[in-house]
């Protein structure tokens, strides 16, 4: 077992090949990264980098879940690294101007979601996106973010509360 907790098992069936896993998982990983980074342009790039690293160590993946979690883990972390670079710039030397939304044909839906996610801390954002967007459970999110499940639940609760405040009440909640 190496530092990633990865064992040298070769059989990845039922997802037999890297390409199959890529085609089935890349869209969700790309959109997860975009949500965590609040930048829809970098999401696919981040996911591509995460899968490139997965490709590099494909023969050390123990199972499809292991490979999938690895891709998510690297993508979420790269997305947070993207945030680090963006947040670190102001106190040293400010880099070229760049907003969190890099689209030129910006949609209201994306802008609304990106703006709402800004109210969450980076960790809350990652937890909410993994569970409420990528449909993972707390255990999977905890494994990806390498924090305790109890901590996941705390971040999830706070993150959801903040999101609900920014999204506003649902139509049902507005009924008298």
């Amino acid at each position: 077992m190496d530092a990633d907790g990865i064992v040298g098992v070769q059989d990845l069936s039922p997802v037999a090949t890297f390409d199959e896993l890529f085609r089935s998982t890349f869209p969700q990983v790309a959109r997860t990264a975009a949500l965590v980074a609040r930048d829809r342009e970098v999401g696919p790039d981040i996911a591509q980098e995460a899968f490139a690293r997965l490709f590099e160590r494909w023969d050390r993946m123990a199972s499809p879940d292991h490979a999938r979690n690895f891709a998510f883990r690297v993508a979420v972390n790269l997305a947070r690294s993207q945030l680090r670079r963006r947040t670190a710039a102001p106190f040293g030397l400010a880099g070229p101007e760049r907003s969190v939304d890099a689209g030129t044909d910006r949609s209201d839906d994306w802008l609304s979601v990106a703006a709402s996610l800004e109210s969450l801390s980076p960790r809350q954002r990652a937890v909410v996106v993994l569970i409420d967007y990528a449909d993972m459970d707390a255990a999977a999110a905890a494994a990806i973010l390498r924090i305790r499940e109890s901590t996941i639940r705390v971040h999830l609760m706070r993150g959801r509360r903040a999101l609900r405040e920014t999204f506003g009440p649902s139509p049902e909640e507005e009924l008298p």
Partner: protein, 386 residues
Amino acid sequence: MTNADPRLADRLRTGADHVTFDVEERLAATHRRGSALQLRRRVLAGAAATFIALVGLVSVWRFVSNEGHVPASPPDLSGAIVYVAGYGRSDTPEIAVWSPDGGSTGTLSIPWGALSPDGRRFASWIENGKLLEDGYGLSDLHVDGFTDGRDEVLLRDIAAAGPPEWGPSGEIAYWSYAEPFDVAYELFVREEDGTIRGPILTMEGQLHGADWSPDGSSFGIAVGTETGIDGFDQVHGWSVAVVAADGSAVRAVVPTTGNPSSVAWSPDGSRLAFHTDDQGTPTSEGADIWVVDADGANLRRLTSVDTVDRDPVWSPDGEWIAFSSRPLITEILGRPIGSPTAKEAERIAAATSLFVVRPDGSGLRRLAGPGGVLTPWAWLEEEPTR
């Protein structure tokens, strides 16, 4: 078992559906990238040291051999303002100097980093090709003679989270990520004898540096975190704070209405300058320069809310503050802030100027630009020439 919240999930998916890509195209690119990764890592580590040495030599030569003119200086200003004039290859800053006698517009291409207080040495993080388990790049701390090109490696394999910060006695403070997959970062100090002290602070959220007080007893920091600082629950939210250099105490100086950044001590240690964005105001894109006494009294905004004013640096005599200033993007581009194209980014940069103002708000004047100025970096007593 924790299940997705259907309503939030629906909103997130609605937004995320606008993240578009061609899967097959991405797959082909991933194959190419994955195959190249391992080779690239091996090559990077070996090539980095050679590259740094060559770039350093060439850059120093360019800097000392290049001459030009900058606007004539007001007679009451002294010293030399080192500022970022633009970005070269790979976003490497191009450094220029303004001084009352004309200064040098020769540019020096150097990595992100910090000048020592005497302007003779330059500290920077250079990625060494190694990665944390989570893919975050590790760096070595290089210190170069700003004028003689001498290169020394002081630290290795650090998950650096921001530029190094020179202390008054040659010590260097730095933020780093200690744990893979963690967003918390820690503040350490490398003493001049090589001893590492810390972590002095642990925090999450916005990362805004740590400016040493002139006597080295404390740091001025900008806090932009809802989670606060570990062990010091009284400091949270947007604020400017002072931290004892040994980490034993953190004191909130003043809360801020916008996200603060670029805290800078006055040379006599009595005041702090910083900038905040203008969130919550009609011109939320703007940013302003502020000054406050170290005890939190006499908070004063020095600049207009309808401009973007950032990155204050004090003159050595404490009489002036230099900063960068430009109009709002809506004025430059005719549309709200978005993602500028390369040409639009050039237009934004071309609208940025170097200004000075006295700490009481008087004497506002433009020293250089618009154009050829991005942000001031340091104000030294003498121009850093060989």
